[in-house]
């Protein structure tokens, strides 16, 4: 893959990359913590959206603000702020997600001196008309607040342009997922992770070009290479996945991850935005229709149905749930989803992950045992 090296560099040096981008382009950098953040509004303000995901560094500072029973994602994000590693940020956006992110927003606001701080209090339920109206209202407010913080007027035209950009990005990532789902040998799981992770960090115009070229490259490769039918096709599900080491372990055990239900994966690119008038209402429409995060409510069994549908569509043989320790919304959903999977005859493995993840040997054995069973 021609652009893989560039994606890798971006992911390995995400903050260095963002600092450089700020210096070179003069763009303001706006950090965010959840995939419900409307990147389009940030782009339309002429700023650069950067998703902050935990930390790879040792925790030194966040422990004096958060108890031991807080998830590593929230703790890691706070650590990045407290350590000053993200002091290049011009601001942070905190969409209301779960109880832990709710308090993360407060603790950040009270302790981090740099950048503006914006709460985006999205509706928690999405299935009623009033919630949908509120979604539009609150996005309009976000547009005003962000425009004020960045001292720009966010126009409809700029929003429409941003929508075209993110739609193109989402279409390309989806195309790559689909090509790879048909033939997992096209690229490793780690490389796919790298590409998707890079798309939350990189300049979106540059990203758009690289992704389009990657799609073209993979299409050619797909035509040439024969599909490997011996692989045990797996779907990963859960909240976030920031552990690329997991993919080679699954692959070495004879499996292939052919799709996922992560907010750092397929949930990030599913659903496009209508490119019509009233762009804010269109963005709201996508946030309501996209695959739901369990911290939000749209119905009682939609997530189970979605994962079962994915298994059938992608012809997968099993699902591995990677659940982040202390992530309440996912932990509450799991037993009933597991029951639905059992009823549908789909084998399931549950792996609770924390930072750091369990030793490789231990994980490898578990993956092997599960794949063996399929």
């Amino acid at each position: 893959m021609k652009h893989l090296e560039e994606f890798r560099q971006v992911v390995n040096q995400s903050f260095g990359y963002a600092r450089q981008l700020k210096k070179d382009s003069g763009k303001k950098i706006v950090g965010y913590v959840c995939s419900y953040t409307p990147e389009e509004v940030i782009l339309a303000a002429g700023a650069h959206p950067l998703r902050i995901l935990g930390t790879k560094e040792t925790i030194h500072l966040a422990d004096s603000h958060l108890q031991s029973y807080c998830c590593s994602l929230v703790r890691g994000i706070l650590e990045e702020g407290l350590s000053g590693r993200v002091d290049f940020l011009d601001g942070m956006v905190f969409p209301h997600t779960c109880d832990s992110v709710q308090r993360l927003s407060d603790i950040w606001r009270m302790n981090i001196p740099f950048g503006f701080h914006l709460d985006l209090i999205l509706p928690v339920k999405l299935d009623t008309l009033s919630a949908q109206h509120y979604m539009v209202d609150v996005l309009q407010k976000f547009r005003t607040d962000l425009g004020r913080a960045l001292q720009v007027d966010i126009t409809d035209e700029a929003l429409k342009k941003a929508i075209r950009t993110t739609n193109a990005i989402r279409q390309s990532i989806r195309a790559i997922y689909e090509l790879r789902s048909r033939n997992p040998r096209l690229m490793t799981g780690t490389d796919l992770y790298t590409l998707v992770r890079a798309s939350m960090i990189m300049d979106r115009d540059r990203l758009n070009i690289l992704l389009a070229e990657t799609v073209a490259e993979l299409k050619v490769k797909a035509d040439r290479e024969k599909e490997d039918t011996s692989l045990k096709r797996i779907i990963l599900a859960g909240g976030i996945c920031n552990h690329p080491d997991i993919y080679p372990m699954i692959e070495n055990a004879g499996g292939a991850v052919v799709w996922d239900d992560f907010c750092t994966g397929a949930r990030y690119f599913t659903e496009l935005i209508d490119e019509g008038a009233e762009p804010i209402a269109r963005i709201a429409g996508r946030l309501i229709n996209r695959v739901v995060c369990p911290a939000k409510h749209i119905d009682l069994d939609g997530r189970a149905r979605h994962i079962i549908r994915l298994v059938k569509e992608k012809n997968a043989r099993g699902v591995i749930f990677l659940l982040l320790k202390f992530c309440d919304p996912h932990a509450f959903d799991y037993p009933d989803i597991k029951k639905s999977m059992d009823e549908a005859g789909i084998p399931v493995m549950l792996l609770e992950i924390d930072d750091p993840i369990p030793a490789e040997g231990q994980l490898k054995t578990r993956f092997e045992a599960f794949l063996e069973m399929l």
Partner: protein
């Protein structure tokens, strides 16, 4: 003096008995609902119960049930059952205990009466929504979510429109479920009672401003049950009037809840239900009185807004702008006010594994109180229901060290 004390103690015991009888009667009524052609709704502790009462629906509180499970030390058994069902041991222990209880009809009252509907207000946490989704699937009954956006810094006009719309939807939901029309005049009457009940509750809690304090936070945890479960009813008003008067008399007679009250402390977070007596004795033994707490006073603030004429607007704001739905700094402001009001020497914080929105931010709260008021705090790591990780000896040592520090500061 001792004669008065004897008489007042007798009245206190009588009142506690009365509370137990009211609660027993309430649960019997709830369990008999079907026979009496009444509907049962399960509702979250911070949820808008007044419309249910106005519709003659019996409101049942799984959280109150959770507290009873904890207090009767049946928490571990039920939590373990939930874990066997696949629920992580890191989840809220109220939720775990309740979810398990439904499958075995266990617990101190043999399980709650089955719901005809579920009403979930997320002004206390996001966990309640997930918990109620589980129950909606289990019982196959309709779920109404009253979504109260978090007021980190403000209650904005957007939120106001949204929550007011939901208040109207809530009425429609109840009209649909009960087949009757919402009686707004009756609702206003109940709302008025709720406000009065909250006012009486506040006046009761305020009797602890006197030295020595006539009651402790542990008493408040006990007497709280009615303002949670039966607020808006005349018997609640009567009960709290009696309680307030009794506490006033105790304070006038100079009778303290703790012998030789030396230190006045503030409690933060939910009670540790499984160690109420143990903790109460531990503190009392050192002359430390927990004179106030952030938990039971939450039921005073919520209802302040309900007094206005526009039921929909005032309910919306009152239920949204509530303690746990505010930013950590706003919560800290309230704590600072309480420190002054009740003249406390220190804060005891229950770092509650079960409750993330209450517990995260406590370290910051601790620093703020120390900085602004110069008073120390003690952090107790525990869980409100699940006592598997609770170590009495460890906690006792920490309490003793804390008291020793207070003693030295007082001496200085």
């Amino acid at each position: 003096m001792s004669d008065i004390k004897l008489e007042l103690d007798k009245r206190k015991t009588k009142l506690e008995k009365k509370m137990q009888n009211i609660m027993a009667g309430y649960y019997i009524d709830a369990k008999m609902a079907r026979q009496n052609n009444k509907k049962v709704a399960w509702i979250t502790s911070g949820g808008p119960v007044e419309p249910l009462l106005a519709m003659d629906v019996i409101a049942v509180y799984p959280e109150n049930h959770g507290a009873m499970i904890g207090a009767s030390k049946m928490g571990v058994d039920l939590c373990e059952k939930a874990e066997a069902m696949g629920y992580s041991s890191d989840l809220c222990s109220y939720a775990r205990a309740d979810i398990a209880c439904c499958t075995v009809n266990g617990g101190p009252i043999g399980g709650l009466p089955e719901p005809d509907m579920l009403v979930c207000c997320n002004n206390i946490c996001g966990s309640v929504m997930k918990w109620y989704e589980v129950q909606a699937r289990h019982f196959k009954v309709p779920l109404f979510i009253y979504d109260t956006p978090v007021c980190h810094t403000d209650y904005t006009p957007e939120m106001k429109r949204y929550v007011e719309a939901q208040t109207r939807e809530y009425f429609q939901f109840l009209e649909h479920e009960t087949g009757r029309k919402m009686d707004i005049d009756r609702l206003k009457e109940i709302g008025k009672n709720s406000v009065e009940g909250a006012q009486l509750w506040q006046e009761t809690l305020d009797t602890t401003m006197s030295r020595p304090s006539p009651m402790t936070a542990f008493d408040a945890f006990f007497h709280l049950a009615l303002i949670v479960t039966l607020r808006g009813t005349p018997q609640t008003l009567e009960y709290y009037r009696e309680l307030r008067d009794l506490m006033k008399e105790r304070s006038q007679a100079g009778i303290g809840a703790v012998p030789k009250e030396t230190y006045r402390l503030l409690w933060d977070n939910l009670p540790i239900w499984h160690r109420m007596k143990w903790l109460s004795d531990k503190f009392a033994e050192h002359g430390a009185c927990l004179v106030a707490d952030t938990y039971t006073s939450a039921w005073c603030g919520i209802k302040r807004e309900l007094n206005r004429d526009d039921v929909i607007a005032s309910a919306a704001e009152g239920y949204t702008y509530s303690y746990l739905n505010l930013g950590t700094d706003k919560m800290a402001e309230l704590v600072l006010t309480m420190v002054d009001k009740y003249q406390v020497d220190g804060i005891v914080m229950h770092s509650n594994r079960s409750c993330r929105p209450y517990s995260f931010g406590q370290y910051d709260l601790q620093k703020i109180v120390e900085r602004e008021k110069g008073i120390p705090s003690l952090m107790i790591e525990a869980d409100m229901v699940d006592d598997r990780s609770f170590s009495e000896s460890q906690v006792a040592t920490r309490i003793e060290a804390f008291i020793e520090m207070l003693r030295q500061r007082k001496g200085a």
